[in-house]
């Protein structure tokens, strides 16, 4: 049983990821026999290095990934540190779960319109200012990166808050906090100074995952990123899908470079963290600084409020566009609101929502079953760190190789490969959530059940599971929301045959009917929220 559980986890996560990486490494080094490339060579790498715009694409990806990670992390630390002493933090922590569940693609679709020169914010002031046409000015890629960065921060901050809060709960800090208080430190400052460094150390993998996503994600880069040149992950996708098939080699080489870039990003993060630690030490040595702490907290509040307002507006905009008749610049609101689009597109949206839900629920349930099997049969609660591998390597760096692997296994692209690919990304989150509560459960209940003559399975089913109902339901909901938002795994493993709300949203947002894109974004956001509400109800 133990072997089965271990093997299952290996086969579902480690093997496909490593095989996928190999499947990219080989063509990157010139080996792709089907196209007649059997001699290893560095030519693909050289060709990619010579691609015009490569440097800029890489630099932009690195910058947006690093900046969004740093800002999200600072906000998350501030929020987590204030949970005991500040109302706003407690309130935000409660918001974290639904915020994590909101798919970033929905936000992206709304944000793109909200912040455009012809977008809603400008339209609201265009009338009073007498503008007839949108302002035309020569703004560069920096603007796109700013919007992209904001959406990334919105997506990552709640996730980091959840991780840091979980980490903080596992540290017994009562004595050190009491000591700090006796030395005249406020609760917030004491936590920032005494506990935050430890949180960061323990949350390392989550931070890397956030950084890698910021640098290496394809979907947000497609929807919000600059185009000339695009961000590095988009460049990789373009090469991997180029009509000239020999460019696959270059695509693999570029994917390899993207992986290297995330490594570089991590190194930069470490350097930045070391520099920050120097400043931190100075602050640490100055004794209590309540006014500075208050100022920091207030800055964090303003930033968080702005982000939340931005989030709320994106959803208002999505709702407005999905109901809008003609809506031309500079009208602040659509001339007519009607349900035409919803009526006409209901069957389509329902079909996509059905596929999305089917994949998400199946994936989340399998992930939960596998994790429970592993925990119950191995008796361990510390997760193997390779479980995080799919999250700390850019998705595009192994999904192309994985596609070839799935085909070699004779799996026709379709639902099953998509579910397998989704498991790579859902399993780590499920495992993290479940293992934690599994480790914290009171072992005396199980012991008592066993001493009353129940077998291990009866104990498992009738004692352990019911006790953990709430965290297990939450793990299911989180698994569902992770799956719902996945774009690239669906695209590659589904062979394009599987249309989910996420793939549809990316296609539509890149160019298409903004009304339908908005409606898709709304339904996309609805699914995880429903899952979360159901989980809360079940967990009660």
């Amino acid at each position: 049983m133990t072997l089965v559980a271990r093997g299952l986890l290996l086969a579902l996560v480690l093997v496909p990821t490593l095989a996928g990486l190999l499947g990219v490494l080989a063509p990157a080094l010139g080996y792709l026999p089907v196209l007649g490339f059997t001699e290893p060579s560095l030519a693909p790498l050289a060709r990619v290095l010579a691609t015009p715009g490569l440097g800029q694409a890489a630099a932009m990806s690195l910058a947006v990934g690093l900046a969004s990670t740093a800002i999200s992390l600072l906000l998350a630390i501030a929020i987590t540190a204030g949970i005991e002493s500040r109302r706003i933090s407690r309130w935000l922590e409660r918001l974290a779960a639904p915020l994590i569940a909101v798919p970033h693609l929905s936000i992206a679709v709304g944000a793109a319109f909200l912040l455009a020169p012809s977008g809603w914010l400008v339209r609201l002031v265009a009338g009073p200012l007498g503008m007839q046409t949108p302002p035309a000015f020569a703004y560069g890629a920096g603007y796109d990166l700013l919007v992209l960065g904001a959406v990334l921060v919105l997506k990552e901050t709640p996730f980091l808050v959840a991780v840091l809060v979980a980490v903080a709960k596992s540290i017994d800090a009562r004595r050190s906090l009491a000591l700090a208080r006796s030395l005249g430190y406020g609760d917030l400052e004491a936590r920032l100074k005494l506990l935050a460094p430890e949180w960061l150390a323990r949350a390392k993998l989550a931070i890397i995952a956030v950084l890698v996503y910021g640098i290496g994600n394809v979907e947000l880069a497609l929807v919000l990123g600059p185009t000339a040149p695009p961000l590095l992950p988009v460049l990789v996708l373009d090469l991997l899908t180029h009509p000239d098939l020999t460019r696959r080699l270059d695509g693999a080489a570029a994917a390899l470079m993207l992986t290297a870039l995330t490594g570089l990003g991590y190194a930069a993060y470490r350097i930045g963290a070391a520099l920050a630690a120097l400043a931190f030490r100075t602050w640490l040595a100055t004794g209590p600084t309540p006014s500075l702490t208050r100022w920091l907290a207030r800055t964090g509040d303003v930033a968080t409020t702005l982000l939340l307002a931005f989030l709320a507006l994106t959803f208002v905009v999505l709702a407005l566009w999905s109901l809008a008749g003609p809506w031309r610049f500079p009208d602040p609101l659509p001339a007519i609101l009607h349900l035409d689009l919803w009526q006409r597109r209901a069957p389509l949206l329902l079909a996509h929502a059905g596929t999305t839900a089917l994949i998400a629920v199946t994936t989340a349930a399998i992930a939960l079953a596998v994790v429970l099997l592993w925990l119950e049969s191995t008796g361990r609660t510390t997760l193997p760190s390779w479980l995080w591998l799919p999250l700390v390597v850019p998705q595009i760096a192994f999904l192309f190789g994985l596609q070839i692997l799935l085909l070699t296994l004779g799996l026709t692209p379709g639902l099953i490969p998509v579910i397998l690919a989704h498991l790579l990304f859902v399993l780590p989150y499920t495992a993290l959530l479940v293992a934690d509560s599994w480790a914290n459960q009171d072992p005396r209940y199980a012991t008592m059940a066993r001493s009353l003559g129940h077998g291990p399975w009866a104990t498992f089913w009738r004692v352990k599971l019911p006790l953990l109902k709430a965290p297990l339901a939450l793990a299911l909901a989180v698994g569902i929301s992770v799956s719902v938002a996945l774009y690239l795994p669906t695209l590659f493993a589904g062979g394009g045959r599987i249309t989910t709300l996420a793939t549809e949203a990316v296609t539509l947002a890149q160019g298409g009917d903004r009304r339908l894109a908005s409606a898709t974004g709304l339904v996309l956001a609805l699914l995880p929220l429903l899952a979360l509400l159901t989980a809360r109800r079940l967990g009660r």
């Binding site: 020169p117 185009t227 394009g496």
Partner: protein, 397 residues
């Protein structure tokens, strides 16, 4: 003697047609119950609706299940078939029918990723206007050799709002001057998007003295010289483009969105009826009009092809044949449904079939066939590679 000869020929022709029809009957029988995964660009709701109509018809008539796999770019399907070939999957491929032309067709043909030839054996292929529309046989500069079946005709048009821009720039020279007078109001999708690439092809056509050289691969020795005027023209235009030429819309629909938002004053399409469908959709104002450049405008044909590892080649052929039927072609040409011009020769049609086409009304935003001006041919794909690479070097990075 003469009469007997003609009679014999006639009988022979009839026999050929009859045997073709009979042969296809067996294909139809085999097709029943098969599922066709039709990989087609899914960015237009109108086209998606048309394909959904086709799916309903082939289900009713031939018992075929047609599934529309919506692509953001046709190259996705090409790469998938390639990945399958890489994995040694020679049957049961994920793509059964693909909407294709140009460089994607060339890539699939050169890599032996196509099933066929099959197109010439489709009964309805006999109705195709291969003489009047030579691009139904030659895709860009590549002979189709029956490996793809024509589906529709495309012609490049520019679109403007006659209320705000009553006299749009008539040719490329005036376009440059107008753009400089109205900075930020003109742009094109970034190549390799096909709308953007096609716009650049017009610039290329205008730049070379002898368009004949564009039908063959460029001579490396002289190509740079031929391309120089293209870059001069674009360099001159660059600062006057939307966002100062520092960013470009990703594709045609993205450019339409900028036009709908009022950011740019011109948009472009490879389908003369696109403007009217957007007007009917409520997205573009009623005063929207289309026009072609006085320099001539590029026209081409788009096709459907069947990958080598499809398990549903019979059903895919039946669908390809249905797409060529007068009924399907007429519906496709109707701007209410799609507005994509037919590949058929209307003179070859039976009167009742022809009436379907004559009944189509064109919205004022659409230029009807015959008012589209001179058709320019697609340059050889290698020219486009040069232009795309050159454009990326200069402006795309």
């Amino acid at each position: 003697m003469c009469r007997a000869k003609w009679l014999a020929l006639g009988v022979l022709a009839l026999g050929l047609i009859a045997s073709k029809a009979m042969a296809f009957e067996t294909v139809r029988e085999a097709a029943r119950g098969q599922t066709v995964y039709f990989n087609a660009w899914g960015g237009s709701t109108q086209i998606n609706d048309y394909i959904a109509w086709v799916a309903g018809e082939v289900a009713d008539r031939f018992g075929i299940e047609l599934v529309h796999v919506k692509l953001t770019d046709t190259s996705e399907a090409v790469s998938r078939v390639l990945a399958e070939k890489a994995a040694g999957q020679t049957t049961g491929g994920s793509v059964d029918l693909v909407w294709i032309n140009g460089e994607n067709f060339l890539a699939m043909k050169e890599n032996d990723l196509l099933y066929g030839p099959f197109a010439f054996d489709l009964p309805n292929f006999d109705l195709v206007d291969t003489e009047g529309k030579p691009t139904t046989l030659i895709d860009f500069t590549e002979p189709t050799e029956g490996l793809e079946s024509p589906w529709g005709m495309a012609q490049f048009v520019l679109i403007h709002d006659s209320a705000t821009l009553p006299e749009p720039p008539a040719d490329l020279a005036t376009l440059a001057a107008w753009a400089k007078d109205n900075p930020g109001r003109f742009t094109f999708p970034s190549p390799p998007d096909f709308i953007g690439a096609t716009f650049l092809k017009h610039v290329l056509h205008a730049a070379v003295d002898d368009p004949e050289i564009l039908t063959a691969a460029p001579d490396p020795a002289t190509a740079t010289g031929h391309l120089a005027p293209v870059w001069t023209w674009l360099d001159d235009l660059q600062p006057a483009l939307w966002r100062g030429g520092r960013a470009f819309p990703a594709n045609g629909p993205a450019l339409h969105q900028l036009f709908e938002d009022g950011e740019v004053a011109l948009t472009m399409a490879f389908n003369p009826a696109e403007a009217s469908s957007l007007v009917l959709d409520g997205r573009f104002p009623e005063t929207t009009r289309s026009y072609t450049l006085a320099d001539g405008s590029i026209g081409n044909t788009h096709f459907v092809a069947i990958p080598f590892n499809s398990d549903a080649t019979e059903a895919a052929r039946v669908v390809a044949d249905f797409l060529l039927s007068p009924e399907a072609q007429a519906r496709k040409q109707d701007p209410q449904h799609w507005g994509d011009f037919t590949v058929l020769d209307l003179d070859k049609l039976a009167p009742e079939d022809r009436a379907l086409f004559d009944a189509i009304e064109f919205h004022p935003a659409t230029l009807p066939p015959g008012q589209l001006g001179d058709t320019l041919l697609e340059p050889h794909a290698a020219w486009m590679d040069l232009i795309e690479a050159g454009w990326r070097d200069r402006y795309g990075s």
